[in-house]
């Protein structure tokens, strides 16, 4: 299908490094806000269960944050190393947005993280809570700026091209570009959902093993409320986002639907399943529901929208990929809604913490928030192709002029290092989750005090290490 050339290697490298990276900030965004809620509830009600949960999830937050930072530094430099023509061309817009992200978000997170994780006994409760709030604010600000930049590449606005370079003319229009509000809300909710599913699955895992404590019940319960209200909301937001995409990127919608051409005067059917074939310009094995696509996308019985054949071949995104990535995202979204409703029903019948079928389903749904989010990003980013800046710069024109050998070497290095490092990180995260929340953690004597096993101050996470976790985690 493709030749293995430098462009393809650069695209694979970018897709690989950003797909790994995006997982960590998403969990960071969700967990940071969750920690604010937990600490706020603890300060408000004084219930120990909230502080125990805060300590537990802040360790997981810390490991995850560390991985987000190191994979994010790679992204900040990759625009220059691999996409230098793009950086020179569009740096006038993407540079300031990235700089604002660093100034308002990264420093805020990093500056208050130390106090949030290690300062529990060094500052008062008010200042500590402020630190947690600042870290959470940093994660949300970060998402705002980077999505403004990404959305501008999807639906550029507020600029002109002078001497072959992008010159911003209206910053409000650049930041509030047509797809930005939809993308920001959709991604923010995705991060909350993905986190809720992980929190819920952690609770379900412990309950299935008979570890029934107030803290574990509380986290499962909170996660299920979150799903119940937010998963349906996400479907509504997604629908609005789709309509916006139809307005601004009709070729992407055509590819997502595997929609090749309109029949005059007839509504567009929704293709549930099938195999879009880019070469032969048709969708094989299609299972269709008449008029449903018209209903969803034009909100009318026989509305039409452009098919792929209306775009020149060289301007079409790959329908085979985005058709399926889109369906994975939507399918998982429906399962999330179902889980929220099932949990409500079980709660009403008083068996939320006992129904093994529900707990098992919750456990299996744990990673689906992240999978759905990645599928969504594949849909929107592959759907933008062949454009790097939509209708302005082609991806092929933005890549650095490195040889394929150089790119293949660094790609191999990234793959190797990422699997080793983030594989180990995942193991440690699962191990931490497996330990479960500890009761009255904050009231213990200072670790490493006289007569206790030596327990060093743990960088960032202050988590139990192997030497003493058997002593504390199992009590």
């Amino acid at each position: 299908m493709w030749d293995i050339d430098a462009l393809l290697l650069a695209r694979i490298q970018f897709g690989f490094t950003i797909s790994f990276h995006i997982v960590f900030p998403a969990i960071t965004i969700g967990l940071a806000s969750y920690l604010v809620v937990l600490e706020g509830q603890w300060l408000r009600t004084g219930q120990e269960v909230f502080r125990d949960l805060y300590h537990f999830w802040s360790k997981i937050f810390a490991v995850n944050f560390g991985m987000g930072v190191v994979s994010g530094v790679v992204m900040a430099y990759q625009f220059g190393t691999n996409w230098s023509y793009f950086s020179d061309f569009a740096g006038g817009v993407t540079g300031p947005l990235l700089a604002y992200e660093v100034l308002t978000a990264f420093f805020l997170e990093a500056g208050f993280l130390g106090v949030m994780l290690f300062g529990w006994k060094r500052v008062g409760p008010g200042l500590h809570f402020l630190s947690t709030v600042m870290v959470a604010a940093g994660t949300l600000l970060s998402a705002t700026w980077i999505l403004a930049s990404n959305s501008w590449m999807q639906t550029p606005a507020g600029y002109e091209i002078v001497a072959g370079r992008v010159v911003p003319t209206d910053w409000i229009a650049v930041i509030l570009n047509p797809s930005f509000p939809y993308r920001l809300v959709h991604m923010g909710i995705a991060a909350f959902l993905a986190t809720a599913l992980i929190v819920g699955a952690s609770g379900a895992w412990h309950l299935l093993r008979g570890r029934d404590t107030p803290a574990i019940r509380k986290m499962l319960s909170m996660a299920m409320w979150m799903l119940l209200f937010v998963a349906p909301l996400q479907a509504v937001v997604g629908d609005f986002h789709g309509l916006n995409t139809l307005d601004h990127q009709p070729a992407k919608i055509a590819a997502m639907e595997g929609h090749w051409e309109n029949v005059p005067g007839e509504g567009v059917p929704l293709t549930l399943f099938g195999w879009p074939d880019m070469e032969r310009e048709e969708t094989h094995f299609a299972v269709r529901v008449p008029r449903l696509a018209s209903l969803i996308l034009t909100h009318s019985w026989d509305g039409q929208f452009p098919g792929l054949k209306e775009f020149p071949r060289e301007d079409r995104p790959n329908s085979t990929i985005v058709f399926w990535s889109f369906r994975i995202m939507v399918g998982l979204g429906f399962l999330m809604i179902a889980l929220g409703v099932w949990a409500l029903w079980a709660r009403w019948r008083g068996e939320l913490f006992r129904s093994r079928a529900l707990l098992r389903f919750t456990l299996w749904m744990g990673p689906t928030g992240l999978v759905a989010m990645l599928a969504g990003w594949f849909t929107t980013e592959v759907g933008r192709q062949p454009w790097l800046v939509y209708n302005v710069m082609r991806t092929a024109d933005g890549v650095s002029s490195h040889g394929a050998g150089q790119l293949a070497t660094t790609l191999a290095l990234f793959v190797l290092v990422y699997f080793v490092v983030f594989g180990a990180g995942t193991v440690y995260l699962l191990r931490l989750i497996g330990h479960g929340p500890v009761t009255h953690e904050g009231t213990e004597p200072v670790p490493g005090g006289p007569g206790r096993p030596r327990t060093p101050a743990r960088p960032l996470s202050a988590a139990p290490d192997a030497a003493d976790d058997t002593a504390t985690a199992r009590t």
Partner: protein
Amino acid sequence: MGIDLPLVWAVIILFGVMMYVVMDGFDLGIGLLYPFFADRTDRDVMMNTVAPVWDGNETWLVLGGAGLLAAFPLAYAVVLSAFYLPLILMLLGLIFRGVAFEFRFKADDAHRHLWDKAFIGGSLAATFFQGVTLGGYIQGIEVVDRAYAGGAFDWLAPFPLFVGAGLVVTYTLLGSTWLIVKTQGALQARMIAIARPLTWLLLAVIVAISVWTPLAREDIAQRWFTWPNLLWFAPVPILIVLTAWQLLQRLRRAPDVAPFVLTLFLVFLGYTGLGISLWPNIVPPGITIWEAAAPPQSMGFTLVGALLIIPLILMYTAWGYYVFRGKVDETQGYH
């Protein structure tokens, strides 16, 4: 108008990069010192002296990259593609090092040594390849038609490799003097002992680079050794000698904060010398800050934020250091 935006931005980026060298330098140095301190307790203490702050320190590197992209996109594009391989190796080093902070304490006893090695190797790779990039940058970058025109391995030359080794020495000295501030007892005594030969080594590095650079680049020789420039720039080498002498003196007595501050000043002076040599080029030898500048609309927009927010960042960073002031030892946990 009247504001020379490229000039203001060059100052901001110079400041950001200096903040990075000053702040991440000492915590990278801790990884470089690890091989000399094999005891687990020592290593825990060393790492705990920077655990709450290293992340903020490293953020200055990201600001350097983002600021360069915002204000001088051409320089960002050219410099980063010229040093493609060393920069990627630096990033991979930072990955290993960054996660080692976390993973070391999550690993069981059988695997902890692997993350110790990752911390050492990562710190070494990050430092060395930063130095290599700096050396290659001083050496000059071939540009044709707004794009890098050199080869993939132009950085693989004696001068950049020497600067890489020189930066390893610099960060190790920063790390050891930082630990003199933050530790006590036997560990502190060993740091004092190690800091003296390192100071001499750093002096040798500074002398070598000061001789090598003007020999290799005639424009840099011109800059320094013509009248009256020689008079204006003379304080830099004189202050370097005085500072290094003071540093050696202080290390004799029971030292505390002074060696660290003096080392920082030494690094600042070296950095100043470099700035004098290269100004006003942002892609040496041929592209000036004015030629590489982003559109004024971009630089102006970002400048408002930078001028308002950087002071705030400095304030809460200082507060963070204040919260975690004092000596660190193995009986003291931050929790």
